[in-house]
Symmetry: C2
Subunit: 249 residues, 2 copies
């Protein structure tokens, strides 16, 4: 029915995927996404046409999904976490508008939200996001590194808790170290930080450490990083940011 | 079994609540939270002891929940959205640590994440959070207004997309207007913004408008506000932030 659902699967297995997301996948004729995520869903929702592309072929994947929807199909495009946070919702909405302008049949697009790593990682670590926070990706594939540096400085200046996505990639192994050096210009080395790894999987891990220790940590691509605000504390092994005035008690 | 689940219910009805969250509620002996949310769950999960308090009695609610868990019960403390984002996870973890130090029986605490309004509101509006973003509450009940102003200026300086929680309350009807004036110091009046209202309910609404229009809008307490970054666009009636370099095409 000329429709694309952009479905956030959440962080791990089926227990973290909302009933609305599962229903969107169930209704779809075509399942589309990064190979690993589609494989996980095929067992649960068998008998669908499957379109997969490697991780770097995002725009090709959008186009394939739009072509199938233009041909009358209902397509579920699945992303881990949420499709609207560094996911596929933006490119699909942009390309759909471009193609409609170019005379292709219109496609209805619905974003079905999922639990992003900032939220699931925070739950695993304790309660680091009880007050205002920023989310910044350390990948400079699509954003210039200078812009990332500027955002890190602004986030530090505003005493936000900071969530770092994509802390490490093969090509740029030192992004987290460089980010920590920038934050250390204005934040104390003892600032409470956290690493959430493999969130929602059997092997999930939470580690609470200082900003100084984080600088020399070597997280992999399955990690999400949390840098506390000045008031963030380690309480009973968890990372907790007081909500505000109560910090003063 | 001396346990508290801090359960995020997501934005609306049962279709937005993860199976993990529903399972935590099912396992609980005691259901605890703001009266409205507990009422919604009682019909679905009958036969539980229920503890409710009015919205302003957060710390009293934490203590009641901890006392029941210390007495051997499993308690589900429910929050709309996510319990770790301006929710009850922080106060419960802090109070639990204090009480354990004071000699009360230890209580296990598990945060079960839910879909917060930044994520569900973004899905409703399109894809405003495809690049780095900040979440700021405009409530000065627990954070001094000067700190909120500073964070707004830093978020504007970093060209973040900004999500505003608690844009309005009875006592401070002009917070959103004042926030917009601060953002207008450095952002164009034409900056694309969005209002998501009653997310996940039958009467949900999404409105895309300019920052200048937002300044004079009068959203109620059921709204979450999105202020775009400089690259954010209105595309086919939706609010979309390009992911980065692609904005230049």
């Amino acid at each position: 029915m000329n429709k694309i659902f952009l479905v956030g699967m959440g962080p791990g297995g089926p227990e973290a995927m909302t009933p609305a997301a599962a229903e969107a996948v169930r209704r779809a004729d075509v399942l589309c996404g990064y190979t690993l995520y589609v494989k996980l869903l095929e067992e649960r929702f068998p008998g669908k046409e499957v379109l997969t592309t490697p991780m770097t072929q995002e725009l090709a994947r959008c186009q394939m999904a739009l072509e199938r929807a233009e041909a009358g199909k209902t397509v579920a495009m699945v992303c881990s976490g949420d499709a609207g946070i560094y996911g596929m919702a933006g490119p699909v909405l942009q390309m759909a508008a471009d193609r409609k302008m170019a005379g292709y049949p219109p496609v209805e697009i619905e974003v079905v939200p999922g639990i992003t790593a900032a939220v699931s990682g925070a739950a695993l670590l304790g309660a680091p996001l009880m007050n205002d926070f920023c989310v910044i990706s350390l990948s400079d594939l699509l954003t210039p590194w200078e812009m990332i540096e500027r955002r890190l400085r602004c986030a530090a200046e505003g005493d936000f808790c900071i969530v770092l996505y994509n802390p490490r990639s093969k090509k740029r192994p030192d992004h987290l170290c460089r980010a920590c050096d920038i934050l250390l210009e204005s934040r104390a080395p003892e600032t409470v930080c956290g690493i959430a790894r493999n969130i929602g999987r059997d092997e999930q891990e939470a580690q609470v450490l200082t900003l100084k220790e984080l600088r020399d940590a070597e997280p992999d691509m399955f990690c999400t990083i949390f840098v506390g605000a000045s008031g963030t504390k380690q309480i009973g092994g968890r990372m907790v940011t007081p909500r505000g005035y109560e910090a003063k008690r």
